[in-house]
């Protein structure tokens, strides 16, 4: 009515609450293309799949085999996680600038170690698994190591970032007072590091469970294998028995970690729950003491032993035909992989806040989206992809939908947690002034969440780039599908080239998403 004439494209500026919703626009082209891609051939299979959710098989034989698969998966996750945490802490200290500056006065070794650690991080755990499978054979230790190696590098990076972000006044004071370097570091930085490490460490265990399941899908043992076999032989009731079991375990784990995080890593608010650092520290120590024998027990039960590392074998003999490798259509391979990444990231990042906005005010809405998101986290993307193939044609879009669903589960949960812990006064004020629940949520709460959510989304995009390899079997044209094909052809030269390209791409993606994140958080 008033300022309409003044509107122009130049004055168009998106306010923070809209930013997380912006990627939702990626759905528009997807929805346009989707009818053309769907062939509808397998809708009755999808129906059977959905129906089987309510009719899981209760056959003791099936359940027994699933439980033992679950045992292997959980065991692999636990071992891989514990190892990666130990190695990652060590690596984190070794790649911390503060530490090196205190010890030798120069941060150069830290920079060097940081660069080195980028390589194991850039390879998805599945790639590590398939590679180690060639070197070590079919042994449970392969899956454990496949999780340990990239996770340790990730933990190292986070720990060193945490370390370097800590205020150093205490450390300097101790050093000036004449304390030796190592004890000074431990005293000044150790306790301050604890909450961050505990919070992040717990989160890594959740990831480890997902990774262990995924490795199983690719034949490295455990429940994932059962899930894949039952899906491929269309035994949906048995499939759902496995899914329900895994869902229970995942939710229990998440609840446990959440409780521990609150107990050990959160500052007591308002002094209502007075808890000294000392008690938290003692409990953490007790937890570690309890964990150690458990890990030994698990390792024994799984038949994982360090001795197996001694059985390294060379890669199979191969004739390197580098010109042929160079002649691969690299540009289109990389292009479709990047396209897949961006599309999946946009769909996942945008859908989570949209769903929350649409469903949250409805009483059962929250329960419903939490259920859908739990399923997304639980359900490895290659299996979603296989399921989608019942009704969609293979291709980048199908792969993107599968990846997006999985990451929606992860992003959505984080969004919900952040939303629950964000201050709600502004939203309350809007409701009191008569705004509808959705608009109040959008204006009042998304405003505060937008930047940190998008920053996390940027990090997630970088993870998705690594994950494109796991949906190779439906990707049709990307690096991932070629990688799986060259593995089954034992085309080692091609494999090396593909892995190198993946590493390069992820390193570049990591750098980009780091910059984006810094910009978002600084603004």
């Amino acid at each position: 009515m008033t300022a309409t004439s003044a509107w122009s494209w130049r004055s168009l500026r998106l306010a923070p609450p809209l930013l997380p919703l912006l990627p939702v626009l990626a759905w528009l082209p997807v929805l346009l293309v989707l009818p053309g891609l769907s062939h509808g051939g397998g809708w009755d299979l999808i129906g059977q799949f959905a129906w089987a959710a309510f009719n899981p098989s209760l056959d003791p034989l099936v359940l027994g085999s699933l439980l033992s698969g679950l045992g292997i998966t959980v065991g692999i996750a636990l071992l891989g996680w514990a190892l990666s945490l130990a190695l990652g802490l060590l690596g984190g200290v070794l790649s911390s600038r503060t530490v090196w500056r205190t010890l030798i006065g120069s941060a150069l070794p830290a920079e060097l170690i940081r660069r080195l650690l980028a390589v194991p991080r850039a390879m998805h755990e599945l790639l590590w698994g398939l590679l180690l499978l060639q070197l070590l054979g079919l042994q449970p230790v392969v899956a454990v190591l496949a999780i340990t190696i990239p996770y340790a590098a990730l933990v190292a990076r986070v720990v060193s970032d945490l370390l370097d972000a800590l205020p150093t006044q205490g450390l300097e004071a101790l050093r000036l007072a004449g304390a030796p370097a190592a004890p000074a570091l431990l005293t000044a930085l150790g306790p301050a590091l604890q909450p961050g490490v505990i919070s992040y460490g717990g989160y890594r265990l959740e990831c480890a469970l997902r990774s262990a399941t995924l490795l199983g899908v690719f034949g490295l043992g455990g429940l994932g294998t059962d899930l894949r076999l039952t899906l491929q032989s269309l035994q949906f009731s048995e499939l759902w028995s496995g899914l329900w079991i895994l869902l229970l375990v995942m939710l229990a784990l998440e609840a446990l970690l959440r409780a521990l995080r609150q107990r050990w890593a959160m500052p007591a608010r308002f002094g209502l729950t007075r808890r000294s650092v000392g008690r938290g520290g003692r409990e953490v120590a007790l937890g570690l003491v309890l964990l150690l024998p458990l890990l030994v027990l698990v390792a024994a039960a799984l038949g994982v032993s360090p001795l197996q590392l001694g059985q390294l074998q060379p890669l199979p003999p191969f004739t390197a035909d580098w010109p042929a490798v160079a002649a691969l259509p690299w540009l289109s391979l990389i292009g479709s992989t990047l396209g897949l990444t961006l599309l999946a990231a946009a769909l996942a990042v945008g859908s989570a806040p949209l769903l929350l906005l649409l469903l949250a005010p409805w009483p059962w809405g929250r329960v419903l989206i939490q259920a859908v998101w739990a399923l997304g986290r639980l359900w490895p993307p290659p299996l979603t992809a296989l399921l989608l193939l019942f009704v969609l044609q293979p291709g980048v879009l199908t792969a993107a939908l599968a990846l997006a669903f999985h990451n929606l589960g992860i992003l959505g949960r984080l969004l919900l947690e952040a939303e629950e812990s964000a201050p709600m006064q502004a939203e309350e004020a809007l409701v009191a002034a008569g705004a509808g629940p959705r608009l109040a949520l959008l204006y009042g709460r998304f405003s505060a969440l937008a930047r940190s959510y998008l920053a996390y989304g940027a990090y997630r995009a970088d993870v998705i780039l690594r994950e494109t390899v796991v949906v190779g079997l439906v990707g049709a044209a990307g690096l991932g599908s070629l990688l799986l094909e060259s593995l089954s052809s034992f085309a080692i030269d091609q494999l090396i080239a593909l892995v190198a390209v993946y590493v390069l791409l992820t390193l570049m993606g990591e750098d980009l998403s780091d910059r984006l994140r810094r910009r978002l958080l600084a603004a």
Partner: protein, 267 residues
């Protein structure tokens, strides 16, 4: 001792959007809100007529904030009845929203949306009356600039601030912006929870004058405050103590002794 019986009248069961001199703007009847040990509000009744300016006083913890939260619908009392402009809180979501739009609150912590601009914050007060398209447009383009300029002028803020982020404002400017947002909402019933608490005397006086000025033309003001020296412009003073109304009188009739007694438990 001052319990006002609720008149048994035939009341409309739909929100009434305009005020009328013979209708109470706010009516609380024997409100009870439970608390941890003692009830936060116990048998509280209060009536506001159009044009009335009522100060709510009492020591900390007497229930002033709770009473305001009941009055603006955030807290649902355990017992007692509540009427806005003659109508009980509506059941239907849409009607309830229209009803809420008639009640404006000036929050002690302001509750501005820090990440948005001044203009977007002002427009946020209109969300009850706007549909989604305009609500979304407000997050992209300048919307209803003229109306916003006008309310900013009423609180002595320059229109140059419209496109500034809230974070760029000074403390005093933020206080005024919160008031401007209240004006933009254009409610019949103005509630204010200790709006003067952290202001220096001059600013406090200015803001209070602005608020008192708004309670005219069929509007009413209910304001909680801590300072006996600022009671002059009010029509009535309602004192709370331990969740109960202990006094409801014109400020002119209050003796210094009575006032001192109200705040005594704080010492």
């Amino acid at each position: 001792m001052l319990a006002v019986p609720c008149p048994l009248l035939n009341r409309p069961n739909f929100p009434v959007l305009s005020s009328s001199p013979d209708r109470l703007l706010l009516e609380l009847c024997s409100i009870r809100v439970p608390g941890r040990s003692a009830p936060r509000l116990d048998d509280v009744s209060l009536q506001l007529r159009p044009g009335e300016r009522v100060a709510l006083v009492g020591p900390s913890g007497a229930g002033k904030s709770t009473l305001l939260a009941v009055a603006n619908g955030l807290i649902r009392p355990e017992a007692g009845e509540l009427f806005w402009n003659g109508a009980a809180p509506a059941r239907s979501r849409r009607r309830r929203r229209l009803q809420q739009a008639l009640i404006g609150t000036l929050w002690q912590d302001l509750r501005l949306i820090e990440e948005l601009t001044v203009q977007q914050n002002l427009n946020a007060a209109r969300l009850a009356r706007w549909g989604w398209p305009r609500a979304l447009l407000n997050l992209m383009l300048p919307v209803e600039t003229a109306a916003n300029t006008e309310v900013l002028a009423r609180v002595d803020l320059s229109a140059d601030l419209l496109e500034q982020p809230v974070t760029a404002l000074s403390g005093g400017q933020r206080q005024r912006l919160a008031l401007a947002r209240l004006l933009r909402q254009d409610p019949l019933l103005l509630l204010a929870d200790e709006p003067l608490a952290h202001l220096d005397p001059r600013l406090a006086r200015d803001l209070l004058d602005l608020l008192l000025k708004q309670a005219s033309g069929g509007r009413a003001l209910l304001l909680s405050l801590h300072r006996p020296d600022l009671l002059a412009g009010f029509d009535r003073v309602v004192a709370l103590r331990q969740g109960r109304v202990v006094l409801d009188a014109a400020p002119s009739g209050l003796t210094g002794q009575q006032l001192a007694a109200l705040y005594r438990s704080e010492a």
